[in-house]
Symmetry: C2
Subunit: 429 residues, 2 copies
């Protein structure tokens, strides 16, 4: 129960940032030169490039290609100390962030940027059978389940069981669900066939289940219907207007039907992290903290909440989406507010989200993009998507390795990250 050593070393204004995702890192970058002392706390040692996580889950990229040690990213910032620790609670009176090992860190300003997890809408027991995709561990688990299903099918001599092993269900047809389904279909239809002897992997059934009437509801209808057609051409079976009623280890129930199926992936909903509870703040149904126009917490101006943990609306009343550019913009905004407060200058105008457009990939050769008025689809959109994502990766090395992995996959049709590790029972099968 002691304060960490450096607590008393320095009397600069102390900004504590919890969460090293897009929002937290951007806040730290934008605070450069502000004269503050910064402590970044994350329970993981790495920043994760979530927009490409679905590729790690589907054997195209390796985990280390889309994650970087936070302290390495911040190595040239002597004003930033990085702590790998789990936050247990926040004492807003004494301004202390309490860590899992019983120590605490005292802040002058606190930025909560702890993101979101998947939500099962009250059916938390589905998680075991239908994992979601938010962390590298999730990606490794999903990759393991997909690959292990093909392995088990190759060994299986029961026709019905084999068909269940070769059935894959993705629940939720937002960008993540669409991207996962597209790659799994390609894996089955194009990447794996030559590797197996007893099964024809092309017979695999990949279902994309969506309660709403269309895929990618966030996109204009025209792109949505192009996406649906492209997915069907890749071999994805679309189940629109279909409501999942239960997830089992060997089946998914859709309405009153039960479809035998060994691999289910959840891409249907998210819920904000627990940060709102630490500070006992008002939150919406999804747990997102209701923030003031400057992204601070009402009556706690020294606490900011940003990214997927904050409930922020656009000028037209629609919510700001839970995407990387939004989190980054919020991070930059709170840095501006903090700097203005310390300098005693004019405070910036309220936060306003600037929509940079929306993209989603369909397999490895097509994508759709919606830049406000300007829409794109097909191969060219895929290339633009690829170049944009390589641009946003961190560091020359990752850019080169990811570009190389994609070129390799594109040209040879082979995915390289197809290793099964860490079986779930802890023992090799």
């Amino acid at each position: 129960m002691t304060a960490l050593q450096s607590e008393t070393r320095d009397d600069a204004h102390h900004v504590v940032v919890v969460g090293g995702g897009f929002g937290g890192l951007q806040a730290i970058k934008s605070l450069k030169g502000s004269g503050t002392r910064i402590t970044l706390i994350d329970r993981r040692n790495h920043h994760l490039f979530q927009p490409l996580l679905y590729q790690a889950a589907t054997t195209i990229l390796a985990p280390s290609e889309i994650a970087w040690p936070l302290r390495h990213v911040l190595r040239s910032r002597p004003d930033v100390t990085t702590l790998m620790a789990k936050v247990m609670d926040v004492d807003t009176e004494t301004r202390q962030v309490w860590l899992g090992d019983g120590t605490f860190v005292t802040y002058d300003t606190l930025i909560l940027a702890t993101g979101a997890r998947h939500s099962y809408f009250g059916n938390d027991h589905w998680e075991e059978h239908a994992p979601g995709l938010k962390t590298l561990e999730d990606a490794t688990k999903i990759r393991r389940r997909i690959l292990a299903a093909f392995e088990a099918a190759e060994k299986c001599d029961d026709e019905v069981e084999r068909r269940a092993l070769l059935t894959f269900a993705v629940i939720g047809a937002g960008p993540t669900g669409v991207e996962l389904a597209g790659i799994i279909a390609e894996l089955a239809k194009r990447v794996l066939p030559r590797d197996f002897r007893r099964i024809d992997t092309r017979e695999a059934r990949v279902m994309l289940i969506e309660a709403g009437p269309r895929v990618l509801a966030g996109f204009p209808e025209e792109l949505s219907s192009y996406a649906a057609k492209t997915l069907e051409r890749l071999g994805v079976e679309l189940r629109l207007g279909a409501k999942v009623t239960e997830c089992h280890s060997d089946a998914v129930d859709i309405g009153l039907d039960s479809v035998p199926c060994h691999t289910i992936i959840w891409a249907a909903g998210v819920q904000a992290s627990r940060a709102g509870k630490w500070i006992r703040a008002d939150a919406d149904k999804a747990g997102r903290v209701l923030v003031a126009p400057d992204l601070s917490v009402p009556e706690r101006p020294e606490i900011f909440v940003i990214g997927d943990t904050a409930a922020v609306d656009r000028a037209d009343g629609r919510p700001v989406p839970g995407v990387a550019p939004a989190a980054k913009q919020m991070g930059a905004h709170v840095a501006k507010v903090i700097k203005a407060r310390l300098a005693g200058g004019t405070l910036p105008a309220p936060f306003a989200y600037k929509d940079m457009g929306n993209m989603a990939t369909l397999g490895r050769r097509a994508a759709i993009a919606d830049f406000g008025g300007y829409k794109m689809k097909g191969v060219l959109a895929w290339w633009i998507w690829g170049v944009a994502h390589i641009y946003f990766l961190i560091g020359t090395r990752s850019r080169a390795v990811v570009a190389w992995s994609w070129m390799w996959s594109y040209v040879t049709g082979q995915n390289s990250a197809r290793i099964i590790t860490q079986p779930e029972d802890g023992k090799p099968q």
Copy 2:
């Protein structure tokens, strides 16, 4: 309890290979065109390039850079079926290999190539505190422990505890122990210092503990003493003639001393796999099956044992070492014997190991090499080691990626695979 479907499909001579390491894969390669039908059984889905495993454990390479799905390696061999399954037992009377799911595979010829695990010389309870390095999971675990120790030290405000967190013990100064200690020292002294704020990682203590009188006892004394000097220059503390008497979670006992230490790695001894027990064969103390001069099991000519699971002597009476070239030579040899038997031709001469020389790296810029009469050391030996290992990797993609990772590490001094995943308690810290 049913025979797998394809059992009855084909009446070609059926060779079952258990284990897709260097020996098993080489046997399959050399059996190409023999007219046999081959089934490869491995409990993992990948071939692992073990000579570079220490680099995956020490953040230089990512797991997928040194492992390849077995069925992908064998995709152009329609005569080979790959099964990911755990072997439970072998019925040598009915010639059945029994798998973990209750099915069996019947063989005409059986090749057991199941390798070795580490041995704690009767102190199996040490494994929890001092993991060995044989699998990708081992490598991930060791990498996690090393990185987590630095993370914990950065958070720790107790001087004594921090020193224990920054003490690393490698037990056993054979090639693996020497290679691990060298890279850990470099990690602490050169790669990590700029990333931490509260600790000076250069103060880390890396001990290499060896019961014998010198490091790398398999090499000539001259190279051995060069290696010792190079390790000391890298900052490794050599403890020769030192016997480990106990491993704890927070200390290692050497003789009557107890050294506070949170990270212990075991590189001191190996033991053959259980394959000898499946076939109830005579084995030596380390569990290695005593084979006939053609590598078959006495009185069971249809069963061969190769690689680290076989006890084979050289012409001069010294044992054949447990290295990749030896396993490969044995694999090629049994393929020759099987082909000669099937063709009814002259059987090949007894197996004779051809020593291709011996290499070990010392950190990232030096190595030693012993090619019989010709000895090398230093930077040039490192480059020869590097080129040789890239040559033996599988496929253009891996060669390019590993070469790139090494160049990157060499030029920038940074290691790229520094992500902590899957904490041991299953939950992120």
